[in-house]
């Protein structure tokens, strides 16, 4: 699992080869091994999830990919170049785990500042700034200092700055942290859109549902070592079970089908009504409330 498949058709966007990161104390003595012998690769168009509990090395791995930390051993390459290379950073967007923006800049100034660092010309800067403010829903707060923003708004403007250069590789560290369910869904939709545009996304999170919904491949880290890696479906699918979902079956028909399955398989089949997840239910309620739908409260309302 740790060695690369040299026969892969497209060159990897991000390549970590036997990377180890050791944090040292003032006297250069090893203090913590944050990442140990990690080898992963991320290919173009993938949404790659880095999973793991707190302190498992997710953020360290991301910082190493960005050149914010230097690997103690091993090799990190991004777009075929060493991590932190100026040429590759021009194609990368990064959302850190917390808002590290300048508190005294307004949202618009923030986006303009980062756009300037990418060398975008004035017209393009203006256009991208307005597009992204609209995308993250901050047009109304465009002229407010970022220091006055709530956590969710800070995440939104942080996400906007990560996309200001229309990057080919987007690295998102806990992108949904601090966002309300609507914001979470928007971010997940955005990630899917980015992937559909052929962009590569690396996503770090410990919210498993988020990762499951958007990632095509995942790696699970624990104590700095890689414990599992592969496609989400491939890792999660239980090939010993088969589920049928049939619309509008009356109870009598369901009973006959269950009896037939029992007879055919020799074991008791599980028969129930599928339920939507809480996120979908919440979004539906909020959407209907936003549209001014009147009627009974949603409690207990059945949904197809």
């Amino acid at each position: 699992m740790n060695d690369f498949d040299s026969q892969s058709p497209t060159p990897p966007v991000v390549e970590l080869r036997h990377v180890t990161k050791v944090f040292r104390d003032f006297w250069r003595r090893p203090k913590v091994v944050a990442v140990s012998d990690l080898s992963i690769e991320v290919r173009r168009g993938e949404v790659f999830g880095l999973l793991g509990p707190n302190g498992s090395g997710k953020s360290t791995t991301i910082k190493t990919i960005l050149g914010l930390l230097h690997a103690s051993a091993g090799e990190v390459r991004v777009f075929g170049r060493p991590a932190g290379h100026t040429g590759t950073l021009a194609r990368v967007g990064y959302l850190p785990e917390e808002s590290y923006l300048y508190r005294y800049l307004t949202a618009r100034e923030t986006l303009d500042f980062y756009a300037r660092l990418f060398g975008l010309d004035a017209a393009l800067r203006r256009r991208r700034t307005e597009e992204l403010l609209r995308l993250v829903g901050l047009q109304q707060a465009a002229n407010r200092p970022v220091g006055e923003f709530s956590k969710g708004m800070s995440r939104r403007i942080g996400l906007a700055q990560a996309l200001i250069n229309d990057p080919d590789l987007v690295i998102l560290d806990e992108p949904t942290a601090g966002l309300d369910p609507v914001g979470c869904r928007q971010v997940k939709d955005l990630i899917r859109d980015l992937a559909a545009q052929g962009k590569t996304v690396i996503l770090s999170s410990h919210l498993l549902a988020d990762v499951e919904h958007v990632c095509s491949r995942i790696a699970i880290l624990f104590n700095g070592t890689l414990r599992a890696e592969g496609g989400v479906r491939e890792l999660l699918v239980n090939r010993d079970l088969v589920r049928f979902t049939v619309p509008c079956a009356d109870p009598a028909l369901a009973g006959r089908m269950a009896a037939w399955l029992r007879e055919q398989c020799g074991s008791e089949p599980a028969v129930d009504n599928p339920s939507m997840n809480l996120e979908s239910f919440f979004l539906d309620v909020v959407q209907r409330a936003g549209e001014g739908t009147t009627g009974a409260p949603a409690r207990g309302a059945s949904r197809p």
Partner: protein, 460 residues
């Protein structure tokens, strides 16, 4: 290149914006205004208009520039280190920005702020002197004294160095030939002692003696007003003794010609206007002679020290001289900003601040020690261990190197010159620009940019 310039401007603008919005600029402005208006109110001198003007040009100008220097050093220490600790630098470091662009952009931003505040200092000081001149309470004599003693710019000429080699050789040979010296004394030490003795002897004018100083006029120099001789004379009895003598200038050096009689007590700086005709001689030389006219065996006149005597030729106007002096100060601030920025790329904010102020203090002190070699250094440390000796030697070497690096600009002393009415030459400004404005910031910037490019920004 276009992108680099855009990034440079962007980082510089952000630095200025942060100083404005975080109210650092306002705080510095308030502090400077307190000094600019508070010091003249607190320090009154002898109460005369001349004294008030002197206080504005000396204490006030110096203190406000010093406060600005502290502000610049502190701001530059915060510019990078605080951003790394506040983690804003993480988002900047993952953009395609090179280390030198970040460093230079920060430096330019700090310099822009310093330039504005320094210009404000210059404008306020100049305006206050101009207002003082218009004070209806002043009489014409007060105004004239401010115009002639404060708002003047003069070129200072030191007397031609006398060749004492022959006398030195002779005396050293006599001492060595006498053979009465203890063992282990090097001839170099004897020579130094004899040199000091000869110079001290030449600084003295005994009763009945006449001493002549020769000043070489620069090519094309002409007095733009009344030239004068500035000197500091004491008697052999110290400050209390009174010495009477006569000054003669130019072609009228002969003792028989009419001179300018003087009678001095104390060691204050004195000025003697030089008669017209003594300046601008065709041979480009001005001579000044002092005859001690005390009775034999009475008091000797002593002209001792680096500023014992100098010729001042008025040239230029006060405003441009002030501007040149402030430009030199700005370049010095450039070095301070570079020092702070580079320290902040190496260390955390508190450590960077401590280190930057330490290095700045070491440079200031080593410059003083270098000016007075007898006072500095350890007494060769016979009683110290070898390790301590090596440490002391390393410290002295470092301090000496820093002092030597700072000396070419430090000796310009722009604020001292403005206060003393001495011209700050264009060549001085050029030296300050080359060394303090470009070379030292360049070296420090290279080190800072190198470190910034290699530092683990994400570890903070």
């Amino acid at each position: 290149m276009k992108r680099a310039c855009s990034q440079l401007f962007c980082v510089a603008a952000l630095t200025v914006r942060s100083a404005l919005r975080l109210r650092l600029f306002v705080c510095l402005l308030f502090l400077l205004l307190c000094i600019l208006f508070g010091v003249p109110a607190l320090v009154r001198g002898d109460g005369t208009a001349l004294s008030r003007a002197r206080i504005l040009l000396s204490y006030t100008l110096w203190l406000s520039s010093f406060a600005l220097g502290i502000g610049v050093l502190w701001t530059s220490c915060a510019a990078v280190a605080a951003e790394i600790e506040g983690r804003q630098m993480r988002l900047v470091a993952v953009k395609p920005v090179r280390g030198w662009t970040l460093w230079l952009g920060k430096w330019l931003g700090i310099m822009a702020l310093a330039a504005v505040l320094l210009a404000l200092i210059g404008v306020v000081v100049t305006a206050r002197i101009a207002l003082l001149l218009r004070d209806p309470a002043l009489d014409e004599a007060d105004r004239a004294s401010i115009r002639n003693e404060i708002l003047v710019v003069a070129r200072c000429l030191e007397p031609r160095a006398e060749d004492i080699t022959a006398e030195l050789d002779l005396q050293v040979r006599e001492i060595v030939d006498r053979g009465s010296l203890p063992d282990g004394i090097a001839e170099r030490d004897i020579r130094d002692a004899v040199r000091r003795q000869v110079l001290a002897r030449r600084a003295a004018v005994a009763p009945g003696e006449t001493r002549v100083w020769v000043f070489d006029l620069p090519r094309g120099a002409s007095a733009g007003g009344p030239a004068f001789l500035q000197y500091r004379m004491a008697s052999s009895r110290g400050g209390a003794g009174r010495v009477a003598g006569t000054w003669r200038f130019g072609k009228a050096l002969a003792a028989t010609s009419a001179g300018l009689p003087v009678e001095h007590t104390g060691m204050q700086l004195r000025r003697m206007h030089i008669p017209e005709g003594a300046i601008g001689a065709a041979d480009g030389v001005v001579s000044a002679a002092f005859s001690n006219e005390e009775a034999p065996r009475s008091l000797t006149a002593v002209f001792h020290g680096p500023d014992a005597i100098e010729l001042r030729l008025p040239c230029g106007a006060f405003g441009p001289n002030m501007a040149r002096a402030l430009l030199v100060v700005l370049f010095l601030l450039g070095s301070l900003a570079a020092l702070g920025l580079t320290m902040s790329t190496l260390f955390s904010f508190p450590v960077a601040t401590f280190a930057a102020f330490g290095v700045a203090a070491m440079i200031a002190l080593s410059r003083g020690a270098a000016a007075d070699p007898g006072s500095g250094g350890h007494a060769h440390g016979e009683e110290l261990s070898a390790a301590s000796n090596a440490l002391v030697h390393a410290g002295e070497t470092l301090a000496g190197a820093l002092g030597a690096a700072a000396r070419p600009v430090a000796r310009i002393d722009p604020l001292g010159r403005v206060a003393a009415g001495v011209r700050v030459n264009e060549s001085d400004v050029a030296i300050a620009l080359a060394l303090s404005g470009l070379a030292w910031p360049g070296l420090l910037g290279a080190a800072g940019a190198w470190r910034l490019a290699r530092r683990e920004i994400g570890a903070a």
